[in-house]
Symmetry: C2
């Protein structure tokens, strides 16, 4: 079942009733089934969740082509298409990589071959077919809708994102593994700081620590306008700089080609620096920010930091299934207003209008903890909670952790000291 | 004209007739005009190129929303839209960042406000409007086409990509700057190798070298299915592993969440390792691969490497304006066939069907050096040429450099020793 390279250095593995094995290696995971669909226990859970969301809109089938959706629905990324009918086995259509085999796997050169193969297999052409309307390009969507000319095509992105928002036990376990690796990497941060470093030099060392723990590096985001490298390291007033992207904080970046994050600033005494790199060790975008200081900060900074910790504690105390996202956001605003720091909360010149966001295979999943969001928490949701304050002349303070919604509340996944850590 | 942070540490700058300044700082560039459209000499060149491509299809205007197209057409990325009419000044519609100002810059909350603002400014609603059909999501495209309900909308992606394929002198200069930084980072590679390293440990050190030279890290690719971290470091038989992505070589990756590139292999004596990281120091995706060896390789490897260098030399000797891409590809196939290494050329189990590709703000621009591509080289095109061979039991050999097409031939941008470099 397991290829050699996977057998070497396994640290833990899980065997399923059907004999398939999902093994964890180092800080990542390697899933190497001979039969792609052998990992049925897990994948069937996911398929059934997608099917419930399809049923709400009366769809007979969904055809997935986005990498993240493929990874979710068939456990691997291919250049190709995954066809999931509301009933019966799904079919995987592959262009690349070569060498896959299985009962329901077909190699194709172009998507126009799909309906013919379905018909040969006795699979009915769907009446209502979901396509990833928010993820496929206009051209790709139109091409597929022409191929399925007798089907009514509708946007399936909300459905697949809804399914993905409730994590399976295995997905939560993968988050735990990622969180542990993430914390281990952050535990090396103090040791790599050297006086007089720029934020870029400092970040390069932290990125290296992350990679050595097995971080995949890639930062997956929903939405075509969002982009960033591995995350952001913001120090001093750079944290105030507005960016075009809808992250919690901005930063000027190194130039106009990527106007977000570090900007080459020298880390100066009395400045704070926030490390907010994504912990993508196995596909799941674990999210954790910690604040460091160059020497001591002013008392105002420690006070503002404690306000953020209080926001976190109050929200975590209130969050449980059935609570609406807006209620949690309101707790943040109420707290920072009472403490007189609302003007600095989630940025100064430009403010992020959320205090938390769902995470999964992408950094920005459902739900969003933001004003006017009536959506309620459900068990299995995983989200990042990131109350942050930017103080002019000092820099960013605050906290970010990843949380899973349990039956009765929420549980913190990212376990690492939360006070401001003094460097040097 | 130049903000403080830009004035600090400028290494060269260029002043234009209109008084705008484009300054190079360190290894990146910072373009900080008070007036966004002040850099007219450069931007007008670009606008006129886009307009010629628009004219070929009778479009009156193009509305750009993709980050890379915005960076190209207005020198910066915004969350918003850039409206370029076939005649007259363009208009920038901005949602984020806050704080921009200029005569033709308007803040909006949603794209539905665009037609009203155009009409207020006396700008006619276009008859034929280009939208980025291969880049916008289906949903985003449909939304814009509904807003411009009286316009005929057509796919503008081929036009903007055609315009972008011929670089301006400034873009070529930016490529030169990137190539110099790229080579400087690679010059540190030998020193970071330690015996017994895994490919991940080795790569983490090389990535750090790249970042310390100012590499932005982000890897921009055209097409929704393509993704990779900073590039690939492939050693031994991992280089043979097919991947779902259409890069020159594959690699298993660290797990199913990113099945490309390094896989955690220990670098063993007699193995080659190819470093192919992208040199994105200023937005321009400089591309360069070099081969290293752990100890000595077998004679077969050096011979295969020389074949790749010969392919490069023969193609570079032939390449000039007017030569069709397929002719250049054919030279590669003819050479590797004559030398008896065709079975190993561009992969073994899965082969890439190209030997070079245009580069620019994305790694895969026009033209592509591939079979049956009749497109001819033109002055100002910049491409990566990457003849590579994978030898079972040894690893990858070959070369990749970035080249600019001149009036009479091609010029190599990435200057760094091309022989196999022995590590340790």
């Amino acid at each position: 079942m397991i290829r050699n390279k996977c057998a070497e250095g396994i640290v833990s593995s899980q065997e399923y009733a059907d004999g398939s094995v999902f093994c964890f290696k180092g800080n990542g995971y390697l899933c190497e089934e001979q039969n792609l669909f052998a990992m049925n226990n897990e994948l069937e859970l996911r398929w059934n969740k997608i099917r419930s969301c399809m049923a709400e809109q009366g769809a007979d089938a969904i055809l997935l082509a986005g990498n993240v959706d493929l990874l979710y629905a068939c456990g691997r990324i291919v250049s190709g298409y995954f066809y999931l009918p509301s009933e019966g086995m799904p079919v995987l259509f592959v262009k690349r990589p070569s060498g896959l085999s299985g009962d329901n796997i077909f190699y194709i050169h172009k998507p126009e071959q799909i309906p013919g193969i379905l018909q040969e297999r006795g699979i009915k052409i769907p009446k209502r077919l979901m396509l990833e309307g928010d993820e496929l390009s206009y051209s790709a969507y139109m091409r597929l809708s022409k191929i399925f000319s007798t089907s009514e095509c509708l946007n399936g992105t909300p459905a697949i994102r809804q399914a993905r928002s409730i994590k399976t036990p295995l997905e939560i376990e993968l988050f735990r593994q990622a969180a542990a690796a993430h914390a281990k990497a952050y535990s090396g941060i103090s040791a790599v700081y050297k006086e007089g470093m720029t934020d870029l030099q400092f970040s390069a060392e932290v990125e290296r620590l992350m990679r050595l723990e097995g971080c995949l590096g890639i930062f997956r985001i929903f939405g075509q306008s969002m982009e960033i490298f591995m995350g952001s390291v913001l120090t001093g007033d750079n944290a105030e700089t507005p960016s075009p992207y809808d992250f919690a904080l901005g930063g000027a970046g190194l130039g106009p080609a990527l106007p977000v994050g570090l900007n080459g600033t020298v880390m100066r005494k009395g400045n704070s620096v926030m490390v907010d790199l994504s912990g993508n060790f196995n596909g799941y975008m674990c999210d954790m920010s910690r604040v460091f200081s160059v020497g001591k900060l002013s008392e105002q900074a420690y006070r503002a930091h404690r306000v953020c910790l209080e926001v976190q504690d109050r929200i975590a105390g209130k969050a449980k299934p059935g609570v609406a996202c807006e209620e949690l956001y309101d707790i943040a605003i109420e707290t920072v207003t009472r403490e007189g720091v609302a003007d600095y909360f989630m940025g100064t010149k430009q403010k992020a209008k959320f205090v938390g966001h769902g995470i999964g295979l992408e950094i920005n999943e459902s739900p969003v903890l933001a004003p006017r969001i009536k959506q309620e928490l459900q068990p299995g949701m995983v989200f990042a909670l990131e109350p942050k304050i930017v103080l002019p002349g000092i820099g960013p303070v605050g906290i970010e952790n990843s949380w899973v919604v349990t039956e009765n509340g929420v549980e913190k996944l990212t376990l690492f000291p939360e006070e401001i850590i003094e460097l040097g």
